[in-house]
């Protein structure tokens, strides 16, 4: 696992981009140099390459935020929708056209703030979607206000006296909501991001990636350095089928674990639908 500096994240991205320009690049990313979101995008490129997903069958749906720009940077279909509403739109696409590979991308504000009401239902329905939440504990696009994952006490334009509420932990939420694939990654660990996004897309059912993806411009509290000192990979002996152990490890704030917390193989939404339809087509 390679630890990358802020500068080399960007360099690595440029390299990856150059090698895959033809296939995967559409527009050039518009993010600030060093933004964690580059790693997530790179991971998605890698996954699409590895899994050989044809662009015509690849749909990326996003919310609004810096993280929401993904659809413009990929070679595939994209829908840059509304703030917080990527999940239901993706759901409609997937249920209408189950053969497509549908990936949802959004920020922490988008996914557990304004759109927090959609996440549980997509997870518990086990729609065959991959949801990548790029968590920088800040509202990046609107230039730096506290988000639902900002630490207590954090000061920002809209919290000049410090954030009073406790932060939400999206990984534990996903576990509680019944997501069948739950992983946490850190954008400094490029290979792990790519590997887990690939696995998430392969997973049959609702897969969730909580990507710690620092905002290098507006967040002075949650940074590469602050995360570097507390992140650790999951213990080698962690059993990914053990939900309560996964929950305990996901709750830990020191260290903040990365890796695949939980995976479960149960029928996906598509399987259930197929069963109903097969039943209806049986001669009476």
């Amino acid at each position: 696992m390679s630890f990358l500096s802020k500068k080399s994240v960007l360099e690595e991205f440029e390299k990856a981009k150059a090698s895959k320009t033809k296939e995967w690049r559409d527009n050039l990313p518009t993010w600030c140099p060093g933004c964690g979101h580059f790693t997530g995008l790179h991971g998605l490129y890698e996954a699409a390459e590895t899994l050989k997903i044809p662009p015509k069958d690849f749909v990326v749906v996003s919310g609004i935020g810096c993280s929401g720009r993904f659809p413009f940077f990929i070679k595939g279909f994209g829908l840059h929708g509304l703030h917080g509403r990527a999940i239901p739109i993706a759901t409609g696409i997937k249920v209408a056209s189950p053969d497509l590979t549908v990936v949802v991308v959004g920020g922490d504000g988008d996914g557990v703030g304004i759109g927090g009401g959609h996440f549980p239902h997509a997870a518990r329905s086990n729609f065959n979607l991959t949801y990548i939440l790029l968590d920088n504990s800040i509202y990046g696009l609107t230039k730096g206000q506290i988000s639902p994952t900002s630490p207590m006490g954090m000061k920002s334009g809209t919290s000049p006296y410090g954030n009073i509420a406790r932060p939400i932990n999206p990984t534990t939420l996903a576990l509680a909501y019944g997501a069948t694939f739950v992983a946490r990654t850190f954008s400094r660990e490029r290979d792990m991001v790519s590997e887990l996004i690939t696995k998430a897309i392969q997973h049959k059912g609702f897969s969730f990636i909580h990507d710690l993806s620092p905002c290098v411009v507006f967040n002075k509290d949650v940074t590469y350095n602050s995360l570097n000192s507390v992140t650790a990979t999951l213990p080698d002996d962690h059993d990914v089928f053990d939900r309560s152990r996964a929950m305990a490890l996901a709750e830990s704030t020191d260290p903040i674990y990365q890796g695949l917390f939980f995976r479960e193989e149960i029928p996906s939404f598509d399987d259930h639908v197929q069963k109903v339809k097969d039943g209806l087509n049986q001669p009476a």
Binding site: D26, N27, P55, K56, D57, F58, V59, V60, V61, I64, P71, F72, I74, K75, G76, F77, G78, L79, H80, G81, L82, R85, I87, P88, I89, A90, T91, G92, I93, K94, V95, A96, S97, D99, L100, G117, H118, P120, H121, V273, V276, K277, L280
Partner: protein
């Protein structure tokens, strides 16, 4: 007395079989080719509480509304029926339960409130029901038996109907119910040898019954609906229930979402993926959908929203009718945000109109808001539906192979419509957005681009006009009084016009299922030919009148009818008469 039209109300509480009474009476009348309209009213939303009523109007000629006074009130319960006496016509009749008269205090007794201008007829409802069924059930059939005799409606038409309504409950239930019917019939024959005669045309064909909600669901399914997403809300839920049951059989699916934002979001997603999709809601849900309607406008992804209006604002009057959502349908949302607004006026238009809505949405890549209302959605009426006339008439504009090479999703075209491809099909890919964008779909905030794209989105509405159904002009073309109406109010207007005509006052009506855009040429011509224009509608503000005033520069007489109940044709007639006397001054 000879009758060619009758209006009957059953009034009772839960367990009295009120809805079943309406069903049997309506079904029997429709079967022998009569025109029928039924309106059920529940005073509480929770079943098991409070009173409910079923009003059935049937006639040998076409019905457009629920009309006015009752010919007959059947009070299955005493106290709760008293208030309905005020709806009985002068010379009308009341059936009350003579076997329970002594059970309540005089002030709570229906019979003691019957005034001299109406006729009371005692019928031992409870006693005869007991005799027939051995339970307290069956009062409704006793009453229907009495009605059959009272208006000389052939008993066979009811017996057939009882058999079919109770078919799933087995022989015994059918027998006891037929028995209850007979006892009611016999009792009236012995006690009230009257001479009423309802004129039936023996040659008539049976008619189909439907509610507006059923007709919308069926219309949508018949023109290719493959995906429905919704969130339960009175009075629109029925549409979702039908979709949930039927779509899986046809290769589609229905999702109950977590809220209305998610519902319309999923519908947008399905259209993006190339499937015909729809949601149905009422005021509170439509309010939540405004941002997605904006996204549909901007990204030019088609959407269909059925809004079955109830009383508002806020949670408002969930079980009462109003036409208060026109403004939010027309204008709700940010920015310059054009959308199609349609309003059917009866169940037939619910069926054919929703198919037109799909065609418009598909062809012009636009949101369509289809405004029904609680009265239209829930009332049951006889219809002649021409099935499948519009099935998949329009498909999406697809790029030519040349266009596909360098695909421009938002290509500027004469009619404003750009080619749209579907994920999964080979050829090209694109990204769409709710941000302003250039022809490729990439975000772009330049003022020229914004002007050009806004104009393109509005241009689609100009192109659309050629495809729109004509506005209908009904009534007397030479009339000086013109009426403009929309939605279910049209039915009451037509009957109000008829009443006025019988008093010698001629009128004409302009009606269009299209609220926006409209065949403006036809409306202008119509208004120019009127000396006075009346615009009645079921809201306080006069929302349709406001639209017509700003669009056509007219100064109409506005009739703002407080909602809650369907509009009375008599009220419309009164307004016509008033307007007529002003004209002749």
């Amino acid at each position: 007395m000879k009758y060619s039209e009758i209006k009957i109300r059953f009034c009772g509480i839960a367990g009295d079989g009120i809805v079943a009474s309406g069903k049997i009476l309506a079904g029997a009348c429709a079967n022998i080719g009569l025109h029928v309209m039924v309106n059920n009213i529940y005073s509480a939303e929770i079943r098991g509480l409070g009173k409910s009523s079923a009003t059935i109007r049937f006639s040998t000629s076409k019905l457009y509304s629920m009309g006015d006074g009752l010919d007959l009130l059947v009070g299955m319960v005493s106290k709760e029926s008293i208030i309905d006496l005020r709806d009985v016509k002068v010379g009308g009749n009341v059936i009350y339960d003579i076997s329970t008269v002594g059970d309540v205090a005089e002030e709570d007794s229906l019979v003691s409130h019957i005034t001299p201008e109406i006729q009371g007829h005692g019928l031992p409802l409870k006693k005869l029901a007991n005799e027939a069924t051995g339970t307290n059930q069956g009062k409704n059939l006793v009453a229907i038996g009495a009605i059959s005799y009272f208006y000389s409606l052939p008993p066979d038409m009811f017996i057939d109907q009882i058999k079919s309504v109770f078919a799933h409950k087995g022989e015994h239930i059918i027998d006891v119910n037929i028995n209850a019917f007979r006892l009611g019939y016999e009792y009236f024959r012995e006690h009230y040898p009257l001479n009423n005669q309802f004129e039936i045309d023996k040659s008539s064909e049976p008619r189909a019954l439907t509610s507006g909600n059923d007709a919308i669901a069926k219309g949508a399914i018949d023109c290719g609906l493959k995906f429905f997403a919704g969130y339960p809300i009175t009075p629109a839920t029925k549409i979702m229930e039908i979709a949930a049951k039927e779509l899986p059989k046809l290769g589609g699916w229905t999702l109950q979402m977590e809220d209305e934002i998610a519902a319309i979001g999923a519908v947008l997603g399905a259209w993006f993926a190339g499937k015909r999709a729809m949601t149905a809601t009422s005021g509170p849900g439509l309010s939540l959908m405004s941002e997605m309607i904006n996204l549909s406008v901007m990204s030019e992804i088609p959407t269909i929203i059925v809004n079955v209006q109830r009383g508002g604002p806020s949670t408002g009057l969930p079980t009462k009718v109003e036409q208060g959502d026109l403004n939010i349908a027309l204008y709700g949302g940010a920015g310059d945000s054009p959308r199609v607004v349609m309003a059917p006026s009866n169940s037939e238009e619910c069926y054919s109109g929703i198919q037109l809505a799909f065609d418009i949405a598909e062809k012009y890549q636009t949101p369509v808001i289809f405004l029904s209302d609680l009265f239209l959605g829930q009332r049951i009426e006889t219809v002649t539906i021409k099935e499948n006339i519009a099935r998949n008439r329009c498909t999406r504009k697809k790029p030519t192979s040349e266009q596909l090479e360098d695909f421009l999703r938002y290509q500027i075209t004469d009619d404003g419509v750009s080619p749209m491809i579907v994920p999964g099909e080979p050829g090209a890919v694109y990204s769409t957005t709710g941000l302003e964008h250039s022809v490729t779909g990439n975000p772009n905030y330049e003022s020229d681009v914004h002007s050009m794209m806004t104009a393109k989105r509005f241009r689609k509405f100009e192109s659309m006009v050629a495809d729109l159904p004509h506005a209908n002009i009904l009534g007397d073309e030479t009339a000086e009084i013109g009426i403009a109406g929309w939605g279910s109010t049209i039915g009451s207007i037509l009957e109000g016009m008829d009443i006025a005509k019988k008093k010698g006052v001629k009128t004409k009506l302009i009606k269009s299922i299209m609220i926006h855009p409209q065949r403006e040429d036809l409306f202008r011509e119509f208004f120019a030919s009127c000396k006075k224009i009346i615009v009645p509608e079921m809201n306080y503000q006069g929302q349709y009148a406001a639209l017509l005033k700003s669009r056509y520069g007219i100064k109409p007489i506005e009739v703002h009818i407080p909602a809650v109940e369907p509009v009375s044709p008599l009220k419309i007639a009164q307004k016509i008469m008033e307007t007529n006397s002003e004209l002749s001054k």
